[in-house]
């Protein structure tokens, strides 16, 4: 119930500080390096700082039509996949959490099973089927494959969220005159809301960065941002192209995080992750 993390007690927590520093180095250092590369025009060994900063590569990258179309496509894909996934998975999650029906457990664990085996093999098998269905290289083909990838988050996390909603709260709402649908809308959903929002965000960001499925099913017609970035790095050894694209790829993460903070608020977000 606590809206904030418990405040640390008086003594300085050296282990905690150590972890914080280690994490910062591991996460922030590469980000700084990539971020620096994106704004660098000349940076030769053995200099620690680039010889020349500049926006030349931004101009070159952003003037390319394929970058813009890939960005738009990626945003469209992530949005469509996330919405579809929510529409399919949230009712299913509610059913798993609140109802008993034959085959419930088997079905529930099958969602996990899809992630328990090496994913690429599964993808190749799906690709073979999609080939027959003429879905290879199409938008909806990629949507389908990426949808499969989101099922895990979008079922498991919301199931946990719905299960943790106090049944008595729902009964109390029935008691004062709310229909079952109204109870779901006014009580269950808001109670499970922060956690479900976390799942939706994970699914959006996860889809945006997904490459294996997008490449295998989408190529050559559909090129998402991450796929485009890989192509750039593979074809032309210009580090800056890759760096600029990475920085561009951070955009959805930042938007997602800002959105999370605004809409849910720090404490509730932590609660969503079981805090």
């Amino acid at each position: 119930m606590a809206a904030t993390l418990p405040a640390p007690r008086g003594r300085i927590d050296f282990v905690g500080i150590g972890f914080a520093i280690a994490l910062s180095v591991a996460i922030i250092f590469p980000l700084i390096v990539v971020g620096t590369w994106a704004f660098t025009e000349v940076w030769r060994y053995p200099n620690i700082v680039p010889q020349q900063f500049g926006l030349r590569f931004w101009n070159q990258t952003l003037s390319r039509a394929d970058v813009w179309s890939a960005l738009t496509l990626s945003l469209q894909l992530s949005t469509v996949v996330t919405l579809l996934s929510a529409a399919i998975c949230l009712p299913a999650a509610y059913a798993f959490a609140r109802m008993t029906f034959p085959g419930r457990n088997v079905l529930f664990f099958s969602f996990l099973a899809g992630h328990a085996f090496p994913k690429f093999g599964l993808l190749v098998a799906i690709a073979a089927i999609f080939l027959q269905l003429n879905l290879i290289g199409t938008f909806w083909g990629v949507v389908l494959i990426q949808l499969v990838g989101t099922l895990l988050f979008m079922i498991w996390i919301p199931v946990a969220a719905f299960q943790s909603v106090d049944r008595r709260m729902e009964e109390a709402a029935r008691d004062v005159g709310a229909s079952p649908l109204r109870v779901f809308w006014s009580i269950t959903l808001p109670q499970a809301g922060p956690t479900i929002a976390a799942a939706v965000l994970l699914s959006f960001v996860g889809t945006f960065y997904e490459t294996e499925g997008a490449w295998l099913i989408g190529a050559p017609g559909i090129r998402t941002m991450p796929v485009l970035m890989i192509t750039f790095i593979n074809n032309q050894m210009v580090i800056q192209y890759g760096a600029v694209l990475s920085v561009l790829l951070w955009v959805p993460s930042f938007i997602a995080l800002m959105f999370a903070r605004r809409v849910i608020g720090g404490g509730a977000f932590a609660r969503g992750f079981g805090g």
Binding site: D166, A172, D175, V176, R182
Partner: protein, 363 residues
């Protein structure tokens, strides 16, 4: 204000009978306590009235109208849960206003009613608080207000104060009783605390394993328990098994007159009706422990077969552990086959004090 009729209601969960053939008529404005040990079916019964469980058999009417087939939202009942079940994503005002909004009342009317009910439960000015910014007692008051604001015909309280400390519990139950009397609202109050039931109820229903043991006014349940179970459950009671022979109930340390047919019987005597006297002969019982409460003393007496009884005496002074004593029962009752077969009131027993005897009769 309403009358509730429950007739022959049973509830089965698989093969367990949670409620077994229960019937009662609760009069308009009456407060009935459902009292019983854990698992005796109190909550199940209340949840059936609220519409959260469907009876397997039987009928329930409110003001003559059958409600069995109505879902909770269509029933004129209001329920307060043990865990208060306030909606933590709404503030106090919204919690209370939710039911009124569902009824599409105008905004001004909703505000007026919420204010009034907050005042009724002593929480004026708390409307904007979040539920976790309230103490346990305040949360329960909000839960109560949330039900009361809709003016239910029947108020259902399922151990609403069980999680609160003794002091607060006493205060809140007095408040609930006051509000209930002021609004004249028909109420069912579940508790497993007998003091709670004795102090607020118009009538008490004692349940055991889903069956009714007794339905009566508090004083009657206390003074004339209908079964040995009720006798043991309400207040303190000494229960002694023995045998009736030739018009006397006998046990190792007891021998009292009882004009009933021969056979096994259980004697029930309250500590305040069981006096002790220094042994006139060898003495069959001895003092085990003396507890001085200031206002009175409780003497634990051990019988030859190891059984212990409690005797309430005015002072602790004359009693010491291991001292041999005789037992002098005042008012007592005899039970056989789960019913009363004999009652001796205090005056009678005092007029003819039990004769001490050396002849032991074993049950």
């Amino acid at each position: 204000m309403a009358r509730l009729d429950i007739a022959n209601v049973s509830k089965l969960f698989g093969s367990t009978k949670a409620v077994d053939d229960f019937s009662i008529t609760v009069e308009d404005g009456e407060l009935v306590c459902l009292l019983g040990p854990s698992g005796s079916g109190k909550s199940t019964l209340l949840r059936m009235i609220g519409g959260f469980e469907k009876p397997t058999y039987g009928s329930m009417t409110i003001d003559g109208e059958e409600v069995i087939h109505l879902p909770p939202e269509k029933r004129p009942t209001g329920m307060v849960f043990q865990s208060h079940a306030l909606w933590s994503h709404m503030n106090v005002f919204k919690n209370i206003a939710f039911g009124l909004k569902l009824r599409r009342l105008p905004k001004a009317e909703i505000e007026r009613r919420v204010e009034a009910v907050l005042e009724l439960v002593g929480l004026s000015g708390y409307g904007q608080r979040l539920t976790h910014q309230l103490s346990g007692g305040q949360q329960q008051r909000v839960a109560l207000a949330r039900s009361l604001v809709l003016e239910p015909k029947i108020l259902l309280l399922d151990e609403p104060f069980a999680s609160l400390d003794q002091h607060l519990r006493e205060r809140l139950r007095e408040e609930v009783r006051d509000i209930q009397q002021r609004l004249k609202i028909t109420t069912l109050f579940v508790t497993h605390a007998q003091d709670e039931a004795l102090s607020v109820a118009d009538r008490i229903v004692v349940l055991r394993d889903g069956r009714t043991e007794q339905i009566a006014r508090p004083a009657e349940v206390y003074r004339e328990p209908a079964t040995p179970f009720v006798a043991g459950f309400i207040g303190q009671m000494n229960l002694v098994s023995g045998v009736v022979a030739d018009g006397r109930f006998g046990h190792s340390a007891f021998n009292v007159p009882a004009a009933v047919a021969d056979g096994p019987a259980t004697l029930a005597v309250r500590p305040e009706a069981l006096a002790i006297a220094p042994a006139s002969g060898a003495g069959m019982a001895h003092v085990h422990r003396v507890t001085d409460y200031g206002t009175h003393a409780m003497i634990d007496v051990e019988l030859p077969d190891g059984e212990r009884l409690k005797s309430m005496m005015p002072t602790a002074d004359q009693w010491t552990p291991m001292q041999k004593v005789d037992l002098v029962p005042g008012a007592f009752a005899l039970y056989r086959d789960n019913g009363v077969i004999y009652r001796a009131d205090a005056a009678l027993a005092l007029a003819k004090p039990a004769r001490k005897t050396r002849s032991t009769v074993h049950a």
